[in-house]
Symmetry: D2
Subunit: 364 residues, 4 copies
């Protein structure tokens, strides 16, 4: 079988991680093109990934080369082309499939272009910036009659989440009644404000709840306890969200993006005959200086690196078969609808019903 | 110093445990009298506790003796008298202090009698059956000008809770922002209905939240997710309560009294600079038949046996000094007020403000 | 039943702990006398323990009082007499039972005196300083025809060890094949040399192995890996001992008395169908500053405080019944014989057979 | 860069795993040939791996095809050729590098052929069946003047072992003094006898000790406690090995290949200022039916699957650069020498010095 030729749009931290992943760790795929408004950055990445694994490159000269080739709008470094215009990358005949890691505001246009060119696409969350445009993407894909869009809710591919899902679906513990979730970052920039906590952090938990319960969220309450004093920007942090599922199950979620300690994501499912918890984070147990314990990871890359690898490998494999093997555009739309209601709840201090189209009406 | 002479009212499971505790494990105290409407039970207990530790008695003959002496209304077995009338026990000159382990409906009258006779008393929760009568007890004790009543919120004496309280009060982790609590029983009798889950189970968590935050609860929401199918009596089980403290901190509490697995009480405190969790229950770690792990305790006696021992020892010690060293009548009143609001929230499906007197107005 | 009147010989750290234990936490016993060559220390302790629990005393003035009464050789502070001569304490008619917490070299004479006066005695380890004198104590007690001596191997009373013993004896895991034990102190004084690591630390593990396997130790090898550089006195620390039981089972034990971290005692039993581990030490789980974990206790008092309480309570209860409920003089003798062989192994760098009398020949 | 074209010799469980790994999960490599005496098995594997990931094939018909093409001695299924003669595979111009997963007795000849053809090779342990032939392989490679052989001690690539190694090498804990290792299998076939426990199981721990201490093993004692009664073949199981390093550090290792519970590999390093443990195996924590805990993996594939993936990916990357990035032929030789001494110790019941050539003399 031929390698899947992948183009990546956006090579900030997430896109660069994906690029390195495709080049160094994913089987059956090849990175052929990258696109980024920051052309030197794109060129440097393309060049460094053209060297053999384990050889650290001179990124300074790579950046210089990048500037030079910026004039042409397209350059090739060791087989990885830099294509300035993301829509050109999507339309390029040498690109079989696309990973979108650009800022959220650019997603709608890029996704529509992927649909137009019938290119399979793995799109980082959010699907788009608001509920309405997300719904339009869902409808456009549906009109096409073929699923092409996968959304980057990578937790579904984390081995621990996958094992939890399997356990709950097995029925061994009876019906799942409650989820207790925790989502903590060490810290975030000052620009990360209250609504972003909902849209960028809680959104992962929204997908987890929908996925684990296999159900839509009907009502959301976002509580704002008295915030931590260690954040100067007035952000309501932490937050405590109560997600009421259509079936009557409930998930509570703490989101705390300035936890100081490190990155921690935990999920406890409570079912009729028992409970199951993941995210405990035991790895190396040390004893030193009066303490037993271990390290809390610094960020999501340490915690979910494997999940991203599995996500992209399975996306490549499914794309080769002409299939979707992960969260769909509908999942991106539903998450957007819940987060919109969550922000309203946070602002108004009361439970808010989630308004979204009925899946059967939209997708037939 | 003379041993404190203790009388116990009610020798069901809890009272019998306390009796055995005083006789076998508490220093500086002596059990001199018990009272129970079930006289044979009281006589059997009195007799069995008069034998040396480690010698199992013939409870059958003890019960027979009990029936015989029931006519007199008072009998002595090995130094422990059985006094039929609980108010007579309270008034008895040979009784220095009283433990009330009778059903909740009897507490108000018995507490008033203790105040009348100026007898220090350790009263199992609830203080009384409703908010109003609890307030009357608080006022009566205040009028007396001397604290005599301690309420049996024994978690405050559990070594793990005590260590958690000490850590949070030390300020090392900054201000406490959130509590995530879990309270699970293996199962309860069918007679244990939705309101009792609030009054008898959640009440412990109400005290824990008030104690750890050192604050009153201003508002309570009790969510009822779709209940477990393993309970036939229609009880709303599990429940998820959100306790909003006056200062703006929040505690969420899962109460699940038919968890099937065993008894589990856990508390995670989230503060500005870190978190702390107790109740993890690691003891003997076994590996067998494809599993690693350990046993979940069957009931509260395995989990909180030490807490009860410490509670009673410290109550005895403080009583000898003429002091109170534990939760007061006010704590019993406040818990009652919160639970009353909690039941209303459960019934009406909305947040309910807690109505209670201001401490400064009642206690001056 | 009358309280057991206890006299304590030696009120250094261990004896003072026992004194406070008897006065504050043990039911059915009373501390009536203490003896110590350091009379001011004895007097201060006697006085401070005569005050109600929770009231911190002025130890300065207590010490002064102590000096004054030192002339008489006996003084009473709040009911606790100070008796200068330990043998006089043992012979005193007002003392029902004795706890020996004096230095090891004094044990032999004091134990013989207890036997002579037929006083039940709880003797801290070691039984005596060498194998021969230990055997003489065993023989003297046997001649008396009545067991009076219990040795302070308190681990048998630790709830975790007790649960492990119960699990192994239940047969659920099949026959026990191996023990992996760890015994670590934060640090010890420079005077604590290689042989003392065997006699004072390993000795506990010797008793644990004999007790859990219910078997004698036939051969011992003490390995001395290259020692830690953090100890200046040339002590061979850590040590790794291999204990070969008569039945063919094996225990390996790490003893490391300058571990720097804290106090850690762990035991893993490996049986035919599974394993069981105690001493994991999970209590409060904290997350802070990039770390998850908890505290390692500073010393044995934090780890084994409950074990000592249980040991003394059960000794008091059994003594009231005229019984022994713990490790016997024979256990003390056997431990001494194993440690003697262990020191020889350490010195000669080879396995050494344990030489000891046959139990059936000595005890008939 | 061109994909590395890999040929695999031996497609039993281990070789088939490697084949699937190269095809499905390894970047920059392609499986071009397999060789196995069981031709139908080789053909079936080649065919099934030629289908897209996620599509389960009809292995029956694949086997049939395999039989047919067996006559030619070479057949191609979807690009993966089956080459009957392993030496022909090694010499094939279309094969850039070789993975040897054949039985141990075939390794010596196949390794020599790889050296002759200057093909990089990843050879599953053991390097060869005895110390002498291992030394000859080391010498032959040395004569060639270029390292081509990597031995499959995959634990070095396990993320937990790698983190442990990094921690110990950082010096944060001071010098490493002791290792306590545990190596347990659920069960092994009856043909797996006492010596194989040393050669096939202990050998991994031998490499771990050499690697973590960065030192050779000078002396080994293998203790045989009374064996488990659950094995009928008379094998001495479990075993307890004491490895004394040249520098004076010590490792003790329990190997128990009929543990019944599952697969467990654990390593605790004890250093001057603390300890570190890996292999605790916490993943999903469940509570059900009176138990808390989780699953013990069935076998090494669940525990070390990631280690194998990392090993092969890093071997591919290093091979592309013309380097070795893992345990060398010398490591294979040293392990063989230690195991030979270990078997002697087991048979003679005493410590045995390890006899091996000096590295500086052999490798110059």
């Amino acid at each position: 079988m031929q390698d899947l030729r992948i183009g990546i749009i956006g090579v900030g931290q997430m896109g660069a991680d994906h690029a390195e992943r495709v080049v160094r760790r994913i089987s059956g795929a090849r990175l052929v093109a990258v696109s980024d408004p920051d052309l030197p950055r794109a060129n440097a990445l393309a060049e460094s990934l053209s060297r053999p694994a384990g050889i650290a490159g001179a990124t300074g000269s790579a950046a210089a080369t990048g500037s030079a080739s910026a004039q042409t709008g397209s350059s090739a470094a060791g087989g990885i082309r830099v294509i300035e215009d993301p829509l050109a990358l999507i339309g390029d005949a040498g690109v079989d499939a696309v990973i979108i890691a650009s800022p959220g505001f650019a997603h709608a246009e890029q996704l529509m272009a992927c649909l137009e060119h019938a290119k399979p696409v793995l799109c980082e969350k959010p699907l788009t910036m608001d509920t309405e445009s997300s719904l339009r993407v869902v409808e456009a894909e549906h009109k096409l009659g073929r699923q092409l869009i996968q959304v980057g809710f990578m937790r579904r591919f984390d081995p621990e989440y996958a094992a939890l899902k399997q356990l709950l679906d097995s029925g061994e513990l009876g019906r799942t009644l409650l989820l207790h979730n925790v989502h903590r970052n060490k810290s975030v920039p000052e620009t990360f404000r209250s609504e972003m906590i909902v849209r960028d952090s809680l959104v992962h938990e929204v997908d987890v709840a929908r996925w684990l319960f296999d159900d839509e969220i009907a009502r959301i309450t976002v509580h704002a306890p008295k915030p931590t004093s260690l954040v100067a920007n007035g952000a309501l942090d932490p937050q405590l969200a109560i997600l009421e599922m259509a079936s009557g199950a409930i998930a509570d979620v703490e989101v705390f993006v300035n936890f100081q300690v490190g990155y921690e994501v935990r999920c406890e499912a409570v079912a009729e005959k028992g409970s199951a918890t993941i995210g405990l984070g035991v790895d190396v147990l040390t004893k030193r200086a009066g303490q037993w314990g271990g390290a809390v990871p610094e960020d999501y890359r340490a915690r979910f690196g494997t999940a991203y690898d599995v996500e992209v490998q399975r996306w490549v494999d499914a794309t080769q078969r002409g299939e979707i093997d992960g969260p769909t555009a509908w999942d991106g739309y539903a998450a957007a609808a819940v987060c919109t209601a969550g922000i309203q709840s946070l602002q108004e201090g009361r439970p808010v019903e989630v308004e979204m189209a009925r899946k059967s009406e939209v997708l037939g």
